[in-house]
């Protein structure tokens, strides 16, 4: 209930301020029926019902889907029981506690976090991992959530948790075959292989708020771009290789201290000749 209700040709009416039969079939009416069912027999063991706020919807290019998000925000007003001007619903939803605010986390905080989504609707593995932590924060008050990167551009690129057998480009089916042990637990930035010809001096960027090590995996046996070449940059050659169904990638690393905006050139910028786009892995130091 939530995201899918807001889409299609006949979206579900939110039902804020509805009373009586005007609530029939609305998001509020349906959610109230669900809460009431959970709080009554045969679910008598249920003590409390938490309702999370519905996450946003994105377009395929990572931009927010404004028209559907308007409906989603109305659903969230129903869950909260107040509208955008803090006016209370005349007939608010009852019997529930408010859970984590997924809309605020993935979009409302002023940052577009579509990089944690697999498609326009569904969070990816890393997004699900963070959602579990957001539930933990909501239920326990412990504010700890895992490290993730901010402000990733291009906007359609993804950050994800990958392992052997996973696809590592957003637009190609190639799979990871072997991963060096030093990359375990790292955040993978899934790039697009169609961007392999990009020669912009600043093409990819992201921000971090702590000490990190960035690994860039570049198609082996290619000429490196100067921004990655250990002879002309601060990167060092780790001597390690990632192997894939699309050949191997040599791994270079660089440390960054504290908060930083990190920018890299395109795959073929400043002399790079890699036949496939590079991959990035970020780890906390």
């Amino acid at each position: 209930m939530g995201t899918n209700d807001s889409g299609g040709t006949l979206p579900v009416l939110p039902g804020f301020n509805c009373t009586g039969t005007d609530c029939d079939g609305t998001f509020k009416g349906n959610l109230q029926a669900l809460i009431d069912t959970l709080l009554t027999s045969p679910f008598s063991a249920v003590q409390q019902v938490y309702v999370a706020l519905v996450p946003p919807i994105f377009n395929i290019d990572g931009t927010p889907n404004a028209s559907r998000n308007l409906i989603v925000q109305d659903y969230n007003r129903v869950v909260r029981g107040v509208d955008g001007s803090d006016n209370a619903d005349v007939n608010p939803l009852t019997g529930h506690l408010i859970g984590p605010d997924f809309f605020e986390f993935f979009l409302g905080s002023g940052e577009n976090r579509s990089s944690l989504f697999d498609d326009t609707l569904h969070p990816n593995s890393f997004g699900h991992y963070i959602i579990a932590y957001l539930w933990h924060v909501s239920l326990t008050g412990d504010p700890t959530i895992p490290f993730f990167i901010s402000g990733l551009t291009p906007l359609n690129y993804k950050q994800n948790l990958l392992s052997v057998g996973n696809q590592y480009y957003i637009d190609e089916q190639f799979e990871l075959t072997t991963i060096p042990a030093m990359l375990a637990g790292g955040i993978w930035i899934m790039t697009s292989n169609i961007d392999r010809f990009n020669a912009d001096p600043t093409f990819l960027s992201f921000s971090v708020d702590r000490d990190i090590k960035v690994y860039v995996a570049y198609a082996s046996s290619s000429t490196l771009p100067t921004w990655l070449d250990p002879s002309s940059s601060s990167f060092i050659d780790t001597g390690e290789v990632i192997t894939t169904s699309n050949g191997s990638y040599s791994v270079y690393s660089q440390d960054y201290v504290g908060s930083a905006l990190i920018e890299f050139g395109g795959n073929m910028s400043s002399g790079g000749t890699g036949a496939s786009n590079y991959i990035i892995i970020v780890k906390e130091n």
């Binding site: 889409g7 299609g8 040709t9 006949l10 579900v12 005007d22 029939d24 377009n59 028209s67 409906i71």
Partner: protein, 136 residues
């Protein structure tokens, strides 16, 4: 020479006569009929004609939306408003069997593009919308 020319003209005439009177195949007719229903459905969406919309639904999709379409007095206005600037394009049609057809549609509203798959079914000789699936 004249006989040959007349013979050729008769041949061409017969060929075109057969070509233009060739009947639709069953699948082609099914697709034609489906496109007509979809067209009718989208104009009812833009008019917020909930009674007409309900009459075009069946199966699980009707079950999911019947309450709103039948009983909620605010829904017609909501449907009209949400679909005011809607445009749609049928991008593919696949006949599933002699009663069912899947129609892939791209729906555009303001800044958003949505891919939908509508499953249509022939029920008592009348074609209706059986299900709607969002394609992420």
């Amino acid at each position: 020479m004249i006989k040959k020319s007349i013979g050729l003209l008769i041949f061409i005439f017969c060929f075109f006569l057969i070509y233009i009177t060739k009947p639709y195949s069953q699948d082609e007719y099914f697709k034609y009929e489906s496109a007509d229903l979809i067209d009718h459905y989208f104009s009812s969406l833009q008019n917020g004609d909930t009674k007409q919309l309900l009459s075009m639904l069946t199966g699980p999709y009707k079950k999911k939306r019947q309450n709103l379409l039948e009983n909620n007095l605010q829904y017609a206005e909501f449907v009209r408003k949400i679909n005011a600037d809607l445009t749609f394009e049928i991008v593919d049609m696949n006949v599933l069997d002699d009663r069912k057809i899947a129609v892939d549609i791209i729906v555009t509203r303001q800044d958003s593009i949505e891919k939908l798959k509508l499953i249509l079914i022939r029920e008592d000789q009348i074609l209706k919308i059986y299900d709607e699936q969002l394609v992420p």
